[in-house]
Structure formats: structure tokens, C-alpha cells
């Protein structure tokens, strides 16, 4: 990963240019328009979840990618911020204070910031393993407290609120999902922009320096500890904002928002997307949310596939999806990207078929082992067959084997094309 980390975003020197503002403008327009394309309620629910996850993942990457700190208990900051927001929501409702709902995430953020300040004051002394361990300990501690401190965390059933309290905000009462969507999008763009700008400030740049070589940064006169502390606090703030949005969207928070499972999944999302680039976690959040919603509808085993995908990413693509995309940048710059298209098609289509075939075999084994007695039929890829017959197994094994054989045969071609695409015309390879 260090390689991927070193290749972190290159800052364009100077002021804001149209080119550097372009991704922001495009994504804003896309975010505003997309509810008109996918109008169904479930789509908007997914998009809300995605947007919250994006903020959380970006905040997490402030630590992991930009600061080189691996936190195993980061769900706590989001969760505590969310809990706080629900309490504020209920408090405002009880005393009918004039606090408009769109400002609520600020409270979540401030509370996340406060908690991060306390924890960060002792956990950021060291990076690496010590930091990871302290974050794990604190995370477990607070997650366990949720059952004990019932006043704040609400025990087993959690705390719930009602977002439609009080006065309408410019006539919007936040009754519908779509209104909440635009609220979340507003916060998404704002916090993503702020986080991006943070990574451009001297503190943000120093965070990268401390990540890569703390000793050298110290020699330059910067305190590695304080730099880490600032990153940690900023990350805590944006996690709290994500928690506040979560509270608004779901109106309930439980112990599940704090525990290690949640902390682990945000690590997974961020790493899958790619920690070396600012936009990596965004891709990760989108892909993971889609994967988990689509796959979990299709199969019981989706976590197995996600786990395998994660492990494969760590082993073979430590830069994550963003790293894979950016790998192709030089080829594009040289205008050689066309050379890659044909070999890619020839290799990756069999590879995809092979992976799907493996998944099919796994599903068949699972059905054979755990299916109800007498239930011998299963439907896979739009075909229904008898699992206990031999023929489907033979077909599946044959297709999978052939696909992988084809993939293996074509790999040299891809490698060759890759080298040609990445070398200057006329240069000796």
C-alpha cells in the first residue's frame, strides 16, 4: 500500500481552475438530477444510504489514506454523533426550540469532534499498531457501554426520534424520502468539499508527510503527534456529521451503529475503494452499497463473496479500485488506451465467466448441504435444475474450468499490451 500511498493526489499549484473544479460541478449536477432518473422509493433509500456511507468513508480515509492511521473503532464517532443528534432532536421537540433540521448534523459533528479530541489526546501519540490497538480498545469500550449507559444509548432497543418536529424549513417538512435526499446531498457536497480542502491545507499536506516519514517530518520542525491529532479531530467531526445524517435518515440509532462490525465494514469499504486517492472511498462506498443491496437480495452468501473480494484486493490491488483506475492514466495520456481494449476483452470476459462459475459451484454446494430436505431444485442464472443430478455439476465445472484456462492463456497478451501501451512510441521495450 505504501506504493499506492506515495502516489497520492498531485495538487495543481495555484488557484482554482475550471479543470480542477470540473469533477465537483459534474458530480453536483449528477447528484441533483439522479432522483429524476431513479424515482422509486427503494432507489432513493439506497442513494441516501450511499451518500451517508460516502461521507463516513471519506472521513475514515482522512486517517487511513491521508494520515496513515488504521482505526478499528471508527464507527464509534459516527455512532455517538448520531446518538447525540437524536437526543438533540427529541430535546428540541420537547421544548419546541427553533432549530431547523438541516442544521442538526452540525451538532453531530461537534460531538464527534469532542469525542475525537478526548480520545485523540492519548491515542495519536503513536501511529501504526499502538494507534490501531487503542482505537480497538476504545471502540469496544464505548460499544460495550451502550448496554450499560441506558440514559444516553438507550440500551438494547436504542434511541429513536422524529425528524418532522418543529417548524417547516422553507416549507419543507422532511416527510418524504426525497426531501431527506436533498438534505443529505447538500451535506455530502459540503463535507466532501471541506474534506478535500482540508487535504490541501498545510496540515493536510503535513499529514501525508507524517504518514510517509514521521522522523523526517519531525526534523523539519513539525510535531508528528499534533499533525496526527488534527487529522484525527477533523475526521471525528465529519464522522459525527455522517452520524447526524444517519439519525435524520433512519430516525433510530442502536448498538449496531457502534460495534466492531460497523467499524470493520467502513475499513473494508475504504480499502476496497482505494486509500491512495481522495475519490477512492467514494467509489468504495458506491460499489459496496450496491454490492450489499443487490447481492444480499440474490444470495445468502453475499458476505462470503465480499470477504473474498476484500482479501483479493488487499493481496493483489493494494491501491483499491481507484488505484486500478489510475493505473491506466499514463496509457490514456500517451493515447495508447486503445491498444488495451481488445486484450482486456479477451481476458476479462472469460475471467468473469470463471468467477461466476465458481460462485455457481459454491451456491450449488451450499444448497446441497443446507437446503431443506426434499428441496432439490434451485434456480441459478435464470435456469432451474436439480442439484442432486450429475449433469448440472458437470456443466458448471466444465464452464468454470474452460473459462479459467482461457483466462490463463490470454494473460501474457495482456501483459504485453500493457507494456506497449505504457511505453513511448519508438522507445525500446
Amino acid at each position: 500500500m505504501t506504493q499506492a500511498l506515495h502516489k497520492s493526489t498531485h495538487a495543481p499549484q495555484g488557484g482554482i481552475t475550471l479543470a480542477s473544479a470540473m469533477p465537483w460541478i459534474i458530480s453536483t449536477v449528477v447528484l441533483l438530477v439522479i432522483p429524476f432518473v431513479f424515482t422509486s422509493n427503494s432507489a432513493i433509500t439506497i442513494m441516501n444510504q450511499m451518500a451517508i456511507t460516502i461521507i463516513f468513508a471519506l472521513a475514515y480515509n482522512m486517517l487511513l489514506g491521508q494520515g496513515g492511521m488504521l482505526s478499528f473503532g471508527h464507527a464509534v464517532y459516527m455512532g455517538v454523533g448520531g446518538f447525540m443528534c437524536v437526543h438533540v432532536m427529541n430535546y428540541v421537540e420537547d421544548y419546541s426550540l427553533p432549530l431547523p433540521l438541516p442544521l442538526l448534523p452540525v451538532f453531530g459533528g461537534l460531538f464527534g469532534l469532542g469525542l475525537a479530541t478526548i480520545v485523540g489526546s492519548f491515542s495519536t501519540r503513536k501511529a501504526g499498531t499502538v494507534f490501531a490497538m487503542i482505537s480497538l480498545g476504545v471502540g469496544e469500550l464505548i460499544a460495550a457501554c451502550s448496554v450499560i449507559i441506558v440514559v444516553f444509548f438507550g440500551g438494547e432497543e436504542g434511541v429513536s426520534g422524529d425528524r418532522t418536529y418543529g417548524l417547516p424549513f422553507f416549507g419543507v417538512e422532511f416527510l418524504h424520502q426525497i426531501e431527506v435526499y436533498y438534505l443529505i446531498v447538500f451535506w455530502l457536497i459540503l463535507s466532501a468539499l471541506l474534506m478535500y480542502l482540508f487535504s490541501r491545507t498545510p496540515v493536510g499536506r503535513m499529514a501525508n508527510a507524517v504518514r510517509d516519514n514521521p522522523e523526517r517530518a519531525e526534523f523539519l520542525g513539525y510535531s508528528a503527534r499534533w499533525v496526527r491529532f488534527f487529522s484525527f479531530c477533523a475526521s471525528g467531526f465529519f464522522c459525527g456529521v455522517a452520524g447526524g445524517l444517519f439519525a435524520i435518515n433512519y430516525e433510530i440509532l442502536t448498538e449496531e451503529n457502534l460495534n466492531l462490525v460497523q467499524s470493520g465494514s467502513i475499513l473494508l469499504i475504504t480499502f476496497l475503494g482505494g486509500v491512495g486517492f481522495f475519490f477512492g472511498p467514494i467509489i468504495g462506498a458506491i460499489v459496496f452499497t450496491l454490492l450489499s443491496t443487490v447481492l444480499s437480495l440474490q444470495t445468502e452468501l453475499w458476505q462470503l463473496y465480499v470477504g473474498a473480494l476484500f482479501l483479493a484486493t488487499v493481496m493483489y490491488f493494494p491501491g483499491g479500485l481507484a488505484g486500478v483506475i489510475m493505473m491506466h492514466w499514463p496509457a490514456f495520456r500517451l493515447g495508447n488506451a486503445r491498444m488495451l481494449v481488445l486484450p482486456y476483452i479477451k481476458t476479462f470476459i472469460p475471467c468473469l465467466i470463471g468467477i461466476l462459475g465458481t460462485a455457481a459451484l459454491i451456491e450449488m454446494i451450499f444448497h446441497l448441504r443446507h437446503g431443506a430436505v426434499g428441496d432439490e431444485e434451485m434456480t441459478l442464472f435464470w435456469t432451474t435444475f436439480n442439484v442432486h443430478a450429475v449433469l448440472p455439476w458437470l456443466i458448471a465445472i466444465a464452464i468454470t474450468g474452460a473459462a479459467f484456462w482461457l483466462t490463463r492463456r490470454n494473460i501474457p497478451e495482456v501483459v504485453d499490451a500493457w507494456h506497449r501501451a505504457n511505453s513511448l512510441p519508438g522507445a525500446a521495450t
Binding site: 500500500m1 488504521l70 499498531t129 490497538m133 469496544e140 469500550l141 488487499v314 443446507h370
Partner: protein
Amino acid sequence: MDLILVNLIDGLVTGLLLFMLSAGLTLIFSMMGVLNFAHASFYMLGAYFAYQISLYLGFWMGLLIAPVIVGIAGAGVERYGLRRVHQYGHVPELIFTFGLALLIEEIVQFIWGKNQMPYSPPEILQFTLFSIAGNAIPAYKIFMICMSMGIFISLLFVLTRTRVGMVIQAALSYPKTVEALGHNVPLVFMGVFGVGTALAGVAGVIAGPVLGTFPGMAFLLGSIVFVTIVIGGLGSLWGALVASLLIGWITTFAASYNVAMADILMAVGFEQPIDLSESAWRDLWSLTLPQIGPILPYLLMVLILVFRPYGLFGKRDV
């Protein structure tokens, strides 16, 4: 007094079980600088393999074969997984083992399902060995104690008295020099990883029948094992032993003595509010020791990391 004795034995069982896991983990850490998140997953694999074997060959063959399989699996993970990820640095290694832990849990669920397995102690050990003031001490508990003690002593013997142990100890401090002397250090690493995971496997085999063999067992014990080796000092075998026993006893005693916070507060001189449900401090009043027992180890770890990052016996910073 009798209750104390019973708790001492129970705590010893838990502590020694923890030690079997933490010993391997701490050895692996001091060799490779990697905290193996998946360590408890190997413990779970041990229990499941032993259960599967015990269906056909009985408990004792399970005890013999399952750790070997787990050890081989562990060595394989080191050889084909960790060694590859090692080039990217320590953080990806941690992430790798974390992902491995997730994957192993999913695989176990895939093969054996989500329910608890009917894995039970062998018939020959299902009797009450002796009883203390009416509290029966099953023979299996004593067997667990003897087993873990035996492993600890043989581990100590191998590490300090044999040639292999010397090479391992040397490779811990000066891997380059040991390599220059003609020893195959990567092989030593792989061996240590294999033996460490096999130890976790043994722990799984003997703990599975009492603590239950189910997919959540790794998760339940996993983070406690970390806490143990951090408290004991990373890389220190004695530290791991002391911390394991400490945690074993703390959690056992906390679970069995029902000290209520209300009593303490009243003894200090606070007045209990009449209507508790309205008070913002009601949680403080209703707090009991068994309730906070499970989080005591984490509290201890955070305190240790803040005030003495070396751990109790550690020589180097984490």
C-alpha cells in the same frame, strides 16, 4: 472462602485458555511485527475440525489431528498470503489478517451453518472430580488446566533449551544475522506462524466442548486475546501468561460478585433518589460489577497503553 477457590479454578481455566491463544499471537508478533487478527479464527477452525473428526474417530484423535491441520493451514496463510502482503507494509498486513478473520467466519458458516455444533467432552472425562462446598468441579476442567500447563512448559523448554528455540530467539532480534549464518529465516517464520496457529487450534479443540462451537466463537474471544498480549507486553511470553491469568481472574471474579454501585455510593454518603427513572444518573445507581465485568479488560488495556505502552513485561514499544 469456598467461592473464592471455585472462582480461582474457573479463572485459571479461562486464563490458561487465553494464554494458549496469546502465546502464539505474541510469538508471531515478535517475529514478524504483525498482529494476527485472524488468530482467534484459527482457534475456531480448531474446534470445528476437531468436531468433524470426532464424529468419525472420537475426541482424542480430534485433539491430535485438528491442531496439525490448523497449523498447516496457518503456515499456508503465511507462505501464500502474508508474505505477499508484507512488501506493502505493516498496515496492509493488519488489514489482510482482518479480512482473513472475516472470510474464515464466512467459510465456517458456509460449511457448518450458523447453529451451534453438538460438540461435547469425551465420555471418559464426564464426571465430577471433586467438589468444593457443593460446587462440582468437572474432570474436564482439570484436564484443560493440565493440558495448557503442559503446553506452556513444553513451549518454554523448546524455546529456551533446544537448538531450534535458540535459532528462533536469535531470528527474533537479528533476522539478517541469522540468515547470514545460513539459517532459512523465512522458513523459521513460517514454522512459527504454523506452530502459533496450531496452539490456537489446540485451544479451540479443548474449549469447543465447554464454550460452544459456533461461528461467533472467534469474534467473542478475538479482541480479548489482543487485549491480553497488549497488557502483557507485545512479544513477551511471560507477560502473555501473567496478563492471561489476570484477565481470566478479573472477568471470573467480576462475574460472580454482585457488587452494586448503589451500595458503594450510599456507603460514601450519597442519597439514593427516590424516583430512579427520572434521574439522569440512574445508570450509575443501577450499575453492578457483573455488568461492567466484560469491559474491564478493555479499560485495563487503554490505561496500560496510555500510561505504560510497553505493557507489563514488554521490553519494546508496541
